[in-house]
Symmetry: C2
Subunit: 645 residues, 2 copies
């Protein structure tokens, strides 16, 4: 994608990218400075100031708190790249200055160990997140360098990366080890791409190769630490920490979901960059398992809050769910790399599913409140009173003690343009993964091309591309490949060029058209958006006898605000007659789905009577469903994605 320029111009998404720029980034800066009232403090900036010697005090927050500042800086970089903002850049420069002051002479950088346990660096790779934080530093540095051309953070990163490269590896005296939380691996690939220094790629590969080898490093380290750990008791949980098996031998996705997908992301990068077939096969195998057997219809992954982890195939409870925001974001990172490895539409399908549902739903319309856990079924009283559901919040929170998710949303939405297209090196193929209004400019055969995409998604399937050839030197041949979305429609998309229907070839889920394009060519890509009832595989016990509503990329849900409670009493009628209509006043404007439902008639029930013979008295109702991503923006209430039929 050398020299490819992409910018988003889309009514739906610009609302979010603007929100990130104007609200999320400033708000999160306040949060990092502990200036949000009644929110959990972050301690991030304060930790850096203490580590830099500018303030006295104890380290605050989680051991990986540094990463929040780095993720924020990465989001800032994306924002500055798209829209210059000298004031914001100034704030970021000052933060970078502070980071530099906290760095040790030898390149080491981690405020926890600097403040709290100097001398104990690298003694707890299992839990202490030093390399994880380094990874987020590198990602921020690469983004900031790309956005501003300023090398300061990149230099800080390279010094730290060089220190790490000197400490870890197979040479005598080096640690043969890796981090308990994958992240540095994918970040080192970015650092390699930004600097061209192969040693960073090799270090990433080393970490990937070392992981899960025997004897197990985490077990040895645990013994050295006198069998102590920070959090859980007992022996290290190798699955949760992605250390149970060498990565190429892992048959299914297990363990902490964010750790897993961050790891898989780096694996996919490295499989592409090194051509390692075993690594690629592992990626494909883990992808098939994750998205085929362990993914919620919303694109959420990680079924249990205990270890924030995958459990096992088809175990996807809707109410005690985890489906962490960061895990879906990591799934999007991974899907993006899988697309680069092989242009198959299923990767983009999952990317889109996670983006429009789990991730988008994690942030409130105000950009200041976030979900960490993204449930598919909510009973607010249970969230308040059942310890099994304390982690499932019915209302987005201002900030979290462990606030990995909000800045992760900011950096994803801020760099969303990177997920829409793939243009081949020579510009001979332009592949459209996501239908988001945008402009892509690239070169092929020495000619500059600009494609303008217009999209009415997610509400309407009308997508248009206008092709502009910048110079008047005749037609330009290239292949346009348009993703055929897996929205379960029975109809096929229609392709029109300059108003004429055109037959297209299908290649791995992409409609491809190769032709000599003329300036001003108009392409219409008419996607059939139907309002459908979707069933889950019968092996997913939690969804048996139930259906979810999906319309285009959007999964729908019913809320108490529209349908009363208990929502569990509502089921689909024999003939649901679903209808979709624009509700411009509702939640900032959306398409609502209405349908025929039946509600259990509770008139025969006496207060305090728990059981009685079954009667099938039912009341017919017309229910209303809203897009899942908009749930929880009104009064706290019950919510349900899967409806009994």
């Amino acid at each position: 994608m050398k020299d490819t320029q992409i910018s988003i111009k889309d009514d739906f998404w610009n609302e979010y990218t603007e929100l990130v720029r104007t609200t999320v980034i400033p708000y999160q800066w306040e949060a990092l400075n502990d200036r949000i009232q009644d929110a959990e403090p972050s301690y991030s900036i304060r930790n850096f100031r203490i580590a830099a010697g500018l303030e006295k005090g104890e380290f605050g927050g989680w051991i990986f708190q540094d990463s929040d500042l780095y993720k924020w800086l990465e989001a800032v970089a994306y924002s500055l790249e798209r829209q210059p903002d000298p004031e914001l850049e100034n704030i970021a420069d000052e933060a970078i200055e502070l980071i530099g002051q906290a760095q040790h002479e030898n390149g080491y950088l981690n405020t926890y160990f600097t403040i709290q346990e100097p001398g104990k660096e690298w003694s707890n790779l299992y839990e202490a997140h030093e390399l994880y934080c380094a990874g987020h530093l590198f990602e921020a540095a690469v983004a900031y360098y790309r956005a501003t051309g300023k090398r300061k953070l990149l230099d800080i990163s390279c010094r730290f990366a060089d220190l790490i490269a000197s400490l870890f590896g197979k040479e005598p005296g080096q640690m043969q080890a890796y981090c308990g939380h994958p992240e540095v691996e994918l970040a080192l690939v970015k650092l390699y791409q930004a600097t061209g220094e192969e040693r960073y790629l090799n270090l990433s590969l080393y970490f990937i190769d070392e992981r899960g080898s025997k004897p197990n490093y985490f077990l040895e380290e645990w013994e050295r630490r006198g069998r102590t750990t920070i959090w859980a008791q007992g022996e290290p949980n190798l699955e949760v920490y992605q250390s149970h098996l060498p990565v190429r031998e892992q048959p299914v996705a297990v363990g902490h979901a964010v750790r897993a997908v961050y790891l898989y992301t780096a694996m996919a990068d490295l499989a592409r960059l090194t051509g390692d077939v075993k690594l690629r096969e592992a990626c494909e195998r883990l992808w098939a398992n994750t998205t085929g057997k362990q993914m919620y219809i919303t694109g959420g992954i990680g079924a249990t809050h205990l270890g924030e982890a995958f459990t096992f195939d088809h175990d996807l409870p809707n109410d005690i769910v985890y489906a962490e925001t960061c895990a879906s974001i990591g799934l999007i990172f991974w899907a993006r790399r899988m697309l680069q490895l092989e242009a198959k539409s299923e990767y983009a399908d999952v990317m889109e599913r996670a983006l429009y549902n789990n991730v988008l739903g994690s942030m409130a319309k105000d950009g200041k409140h976030f979900f960490y856990v993204n449930p598919l079924e909510v009973w607010p009283e249970a969230s308040a009173k059942s310890p099994d559901k304390f982690h499932v919040k019915p209302v987005r929170q201002k900030w979290f003690g462990c606030s990995c998710c909000p800045p992760n949303v900011a950096r994803l939405l801020g760099s969303l343009d990177e997920y829409i297209y793939d243009v081949s090196e020579d510009g001979s193929t332009v592949r459209v993964h996501l239908f988001i209004g945008s402009e892509v400019a690239f070169e092929t055969g020495g000619r500059k091309i600009v494609i303008n995409q217009k999209s009415e998604l997610p509400w309407n399937g009308q997508v248009e591309f206008k092709i502009s050839l910048q110079e008047d030197k005749g037609d330009v041949p290239f292949m346009l490949a348009l993703r055929i979305p897996n929205w379960f429609s029975s109809k096929e998309p229609v392709l029109k060029i300059n108003g004429e229907s055109v037959r297209y070839h299908v290649d791995k889920g992409y409609a491809t058209v190769y032709r000599e394009w003329q300036d001003g060519d108009q392409v219409e890509w008419l996607l059939p958006i139907e309002t459908l009832l979707i069933a889950a595989n019968p092996l997913i016990r939690a969804d048996a006898g139930k259906a979810a509503i999906q319309r285009g990329p959007l999964v729908y849900c019913v809320e108490e605000a529209d349908n009363g409670k208990p929502l569990a009493s509502l089921s689909l009628a024999e003939v649901p007659e679903l209808s979709a209509s624009k509700a411009s006043e509702l939640l900032g404007g959306c398409v609502v789905v209405e349908g025929n439902g039946v509600v259990i008639d509770n008139s025969g029930w006496v207060e305090g009577q728990p059981y009685q013979p079954l009667t099938k008295h039912r009341e017919s109702v017309r229910f209303k469903a809203i897009p899942y991503y908009l749930w929880g923006n009104r009064e706290p209430g019950e919510m349900n994605v899967w409806l009994r039929y």
Copy 2:
């Protein structure tokens, strides 16, 4: 019930009482002596030997391990009372000897503190279970004294109780405190009843009155201990430990379910013995809440394993359920006391429900394997692989590290005769709560009466009573009150006396007949047993759109062994046509229920495809359901009580 003699003669129940006598009691003695291979060790006897100075070593097991031996002795006492066994009595006498040797000069008795923390006695009433263990000692002592006439254990108990009475109370220098696990309160009532010493009744009442008062003792004690606890971190959880409110002010059942019902049991005893109206109202209020809003259809209580606790009204998940065996046993204890407080059939209904379902199902047919948690929905793979369900075992266990449940089952089943009848002081009313073949002998107006009950329950509703007047002195007047079970039948039971149908008066759920009885009178009580589909209150979200099968007192379930898997794919047909039939070969003989079901056709599903448009292809099947109490006695597999309709 002075001078009332009751003995069980019942095909169904004698199998269990015999199992307790011939298998459970000897097996548990082996367990207490750590002689069961591959089972969690108990350490019980070993702890007493160490405390008695006969052996050296560390204390083993939970801090409340002493109670296992006491509960076993109580079960032995019931067994000896019903069937003398010199060898067993000898073993018990030796165990009692050992207990005596472990008792301190001043009466104190607790092997944990004697071995592990001498000098720290009474410093952790919140968690250390000293009074709880004392309570089980007293219960065992009373039972053993009644069974054998031997006072040794009773004397040990009285010495300990007297020490306790001197230490706790409102006098200067006394601790104004109570135990974190209620039990001693109900045991002191028994000690009072056995000895006639009112100081034990008063001590019980003191504990009940003190509980939940302010300033809170557990918080003060926690401060004194330097804010440390044994188990959970942080401030004491007053709800879990039944210390959040004075008992008379508690509006709903909260906290650890066993602690709660043991407490309520004592409250009901004291309300009856003291006539305390406020206490009685609290019992009735908590009863209505527990059984009307927080009880599973199986009679299980306590919805969450976190704190083994109640959660809140109508929160009764079937799969992450707790429904601890001991909690249902405690519910039976409480129901028994409520019946003594007021003879209302609903108390006996709950008693019967918990007994025939949750409690009976907790023990394997071999008497050697037990459930601690009694789920209503089981997916063995989830129990193995999802940390949210590790506590839900698909197979009964040999023993538990915390093995409160098995000896509790033994002492309940061993004393089941005490739950069948209530005969008024003067013998003028005989009330039949449970329909269990048995003989009750009592006196009224100086005449001795024997009633023989024959019952074919739970399979058949035919119950017969034969009245025998021992001497030939003419007819005897008394009232026979027969419970009208709430099995949801639309028909009324038929009462026949000497073959003639008789109309009866209904008083609080009991059919009452007052007459001059003649020797040889035959009473038939014909209970309509129908196979019914039962619905849960619509506020119980977990059971919405589902029905359970109940036949007489038995709740039914479907198992993978009969119906394949996934069981979630099975639902009830529009017209289920339930039929019941005797299956004499199945699981030792039972009545199975068959019905029309539909199974989701999974033929259209490709391996690894998680979601697709809903089709309603269904396959008709005839499913088979077995009594819930028999589940899990074949190959481990899925099980389900609630079926979609």
